[in-house]
């Protein structure tokens, strides 16, 4: 593959056939960005050629890298575009090329990222580290995408495409404890809750997996008391602590820790570490 040889390719010979990882080009935001990019290309020209799949002279060619630049040329009604050729490569390599380019640039939407990660995950036989090496995503993030793909209901997957956060999807899956109907009912409620309430909902479902959705929501809406216990010491003990800390030049917390450790060892609750 020689991608240093830049050629001028007629736009009519290029057909989008899905080698590019991006599918979010119809959103209003993307349309706006596309107009901006077209304007920029009009003023400054195309600074970086696009990468096409196939061999020069054998159209139609598919766009692997530079789909937005290609569409911007269409907006400008240009006749040709500067491009290089990848040669004949398989779908996986085309996806990797497209992915490595897009991951570094404008943030991809959920659907595209999900598709890319799960495709790579299957290709690399569930090896998260290889997916990480190609995408730059953390292992934790990769696991989240894979888990959602495997466990989310169709309704949740659909909502994710419309902007539901991955965190909320995971909460519904966690709280439903494998019950898909419950997951669908939960996701409607979760979207109406504050983050504090969402956390409590998942906690309640862990404590009581069989609780109904209305009960879980009711519990979630009740703020909990987070208690910090302050022990009051009688005056004589308080004075004795003061005396000890002054004499030993340590603070009261350290003294309390030493006393606790000693007591636990003396009563055989804590074994001394060897060597």
């Amino acid at each position: 593959m020689d991608i240093t040889n830049v050629l001028s390719v007629p736009l009519k010979d290029i057909k989008l056939q899905g080698s590019n990882v991006r599918s979010d080009l119809d959103s209003p935001n993307s349309q706006e960005n596309l107009q901006e990019l077209a304007q920029n290309i009009k003023v400054n020209g195309l600074l970086q050629p696009i990468v096409l799949r196939g061999e020069y002279g054998k159209p139609p060619y598919d766009v692997i890298v530079g789909q937005r630049r290609f569409l911007a040329h269409q907006v400008l009604e240009a006749e040709s575009i500067k491009a290089t050729f990848s040669g004949e490569i398989d779908n996986m390599n085309a996806l990797l090329l497209s992915l490595s380019e897009n991951m570094c640039r404008q943030e991809m939407n959920y659907e595209d990222t999900q598709r890319a990660i799960t495709t790579l995950y299957k290709h690399y036989e569930n090896d998260e580290r290889k997916v990480q090496a190609h995408t730059g995503f953390s292992i934790r993030m990769i696991r989240s995408y894979v888990r959602i793909e495997e466990q989310a209901t169709e309704k949740i997957k659909d909502l994710l495409k419309k902007g539901l956060s991955m965190a909320d999807a995971k909460r519904a899956i966690d709280a439903a404890q494998g019950d898909k109907e419950k997951a669908d009912a939960l996701i409607d409620e979760i979207m109406k809750l504050t983050t504090y309430e969402k956390k409590r909902l998942v906690e309640s479902s862990n404590k009581n997996p069989k609780a109904s959705v209305p009960d879980l929501v009711k519990e979630a809406k009740k703020p909990k008391w987070e208690e910090t216990i302050i022990l009051n010491l009688p005056t004589e003990i308080s004075n004795a602590v003061k005396k000890a800390t002054e004499k030993l030049l340590i603070d009261a917390e350290q003294l309390a820790m030493d006393v606790l450790v000693n007591w636990l060892k003396t009563n055989d609750f804590l074994l001394e570490a060897n060597g």
């Binding site: 956060s165 504050t194 809406k221 022990l231 009051n232």
Partner: protein, 215 residues
Amino acid sequence: MDNNKVNEATARILLSTKRKSRQYSLYEIASDILFLKNELDGINNVSNLIGITTGMLNQFLSVLKLPTKILELIKQRKIESVSIAHTLSKFNDKDAIQLAHLVLKEGLTSQELRIILPFRRKNLNEPINNIVKRVLDSKNIKVSVIRISESNLKCKSSELEERVIKLIGKENLLAIVSSNSNIDLKITAGGEKIIREAAKGQQLSFQDFINKIIN
């Protein structure tokens, strides 16, 4: 490229990125970062020069998107947290101004702002004050429990309640619970603060002050 100006801007940023030792306001730092971004052809080069991630630099830059009223507060150094400024920049101007005042008056934290943001986006027709109230009311309540051994209590329980209410106010006393030979005084975090300040005022330790109350 004006090397002197680049060096000056770099020095100012390096002197001011840590909040506690910051010499310049967030506005000045953000302006310097923008200047360097333009001079050095991109945020990646600024990141390499200063050693701060592009994500953090972009957070500083978001200060420049804030409405004028908030920029004034930033210039006066009333708002110093880049995290707060960055989160405010994600709200519309009207909301951001109201929230900035709540940051100053009510001590709204950056974490609370981050939680308000997605909730606001789902409830665009609600007044922002209702949104803030709804979010804050849903927070867990931090309770300080002062555990007193019943044998140490030298006054009646009702008397103790009166003394505590007089000191911290009824709203800060959540409950008095008796169990396992202990009396638990459950008070709000604000109530604990009042007791600590009262103890300090009498030059007593917290423990000694509590002993004084229960005797």
